[in-house]
Subunit: 221 residues, 2 copies
DNA sequence: ACCTGAACACCGTTCAAGT
DNA sequence: ACCTGAACACCGTTCAAGT
């Protein structure tokens, strides 16, 4: 009919999962993660809070979506010199992103659901480490160590805890390993997942590195 | 009078801040941090939720108290061989505690209020690093690096952000430096607080350490 | 198919009232 | 001084009803 409300002539873009995630990220950037509520999010999108449930199953799904979008934005370096430069450049890119999205480490530290994009990111790091000639076992420990350094969380600490081996099996039982070549390679290599050993490995690596840095500094001064 | 209720003969211990904190820790251990609500906490202590407000100002104060109690429980090593062993042993103690209190890194990552006990802990680490002969600047970076490794959070990431220098000044303006000798020493040494530089320092230390570990492994096999 | 209003069972917190 | 009941302004989520 001709008497349609004028609003209908400039229809707002249809609500999609991605638009919900992006709106949530914008709110969290400006006002913090606590400000991301269903009602506030609806307001930001010009819709009632309840409408959101047609696109996402729950608020947790929105938080997972935010984490996923964040990880997807960590650019791969274009022409890294070698494996160390590759990891270094991407870590710096991640850090630059974290400065804009301070809530990201918080969300990534306790994922409700395993994010495929997060797995791809970790698979990429693992790939560079293997390329650098690290053994499967060492590459595995190194991946955790770099992850904690880069994104500000320690997966093994916030992890599922007691039976890490079983948890890892469950995770990799539910995904398609063909999409994650580096994970596939180290699983075939038969890494064992000992959290205490990994922790000590990372700690000693840091302490020994500090001692060397001290000596290097003493030599140049 | 003789007609007192029988309950009065076995009076429950008086409610104190510490008892509130410990009850909160017990709930978080068993059911997770989300289960710690004022009503649930009151129930655990045999009291109405509202009574808690006579002992703590707010729920945030309870969360801070939990973090504080946690840090206080990280034992100092008795007879460490040297500075590296000292830091290593205490880090392992912290890690063992984290396994029991999985919520701790989460709380320590975003403290609402600076915990004196956390400062004492960091001051102790800093003291061992200076004892080990690290320069003020390097010891400062190292403290952050070890903190992130040990407790599973990256202070500089979750930190106040843009003007770290001003934030640091504000923190150390409000406390008594006499209680924190190592902090006092590095402040006198004139460290500058550049978060990007610190991040790169830690990252390169880890990457170089991995390269060395790879070469060491290759040599022994 | 998509959106909504009213409602439910929870939060943290305030405040006047009880002992 | 210490505890309480009722209430307020918020949450996430459900569900029957609208278009």
């Amino acid at each position: 009919l001709a008497t349609r409300s004028p609003k209908r002539h400039t229809p707002r873009p249809a609500l999609t999962r991605e638009r919900v995630f992006r709106a949530a990220m914008a709110i969290a950037d400006k006002e913090g993660l606590d400000a991301v509520t269903m009602r506030r999010l609806g307001q930001e999108l010009g819709v009632e809070a309840m409408s959101l449930y047609h696109h996402v199953r729950s608020k947790d799904e929105i938080l997972d979506g935010m984490a996923d979008e964040f990880v997807a934005a960590i650019d791969e370096p274009a022409h890294p010199r070698d494996w160390k430069a590759a990891i270094r450049e991407r870590a710096m890119a991640a850090r630059a992103l974290v400065r804009r999205h301070k809530w990201a480490p918080h969300l990534l530290a306790s994922p409700r659901k395993l994010s495929p994009r997060m797995l791809h990111y970790e698979d990429w790091v693992l790939g560079r480490l293997l390329e650098g000639g690290l053994s499967c076992q060492m590459a595995h420990s190194a991946m955790h160590l770099i992850g904690s350094r880069t994104l500000g969380f320690t997966q093994e600490l916030s992890g599922v805890g007691d039976d890490a081996e079983a948890a890892a099996r469950k995770i990799f039982g539910s995904i398609d390993l063909a999409e994650y070549p580096a994970f596939k390679a180290i699983l075939r290599g038969g890494v064992h997942h000992d959290e205490d050993l990994e922790f000590a490995f990372g700690l000693d690596l840091v302490l020994d590195g500090l001692e060397r840095a001290r000596d290097a500094e003493a030599r140049t001064t």
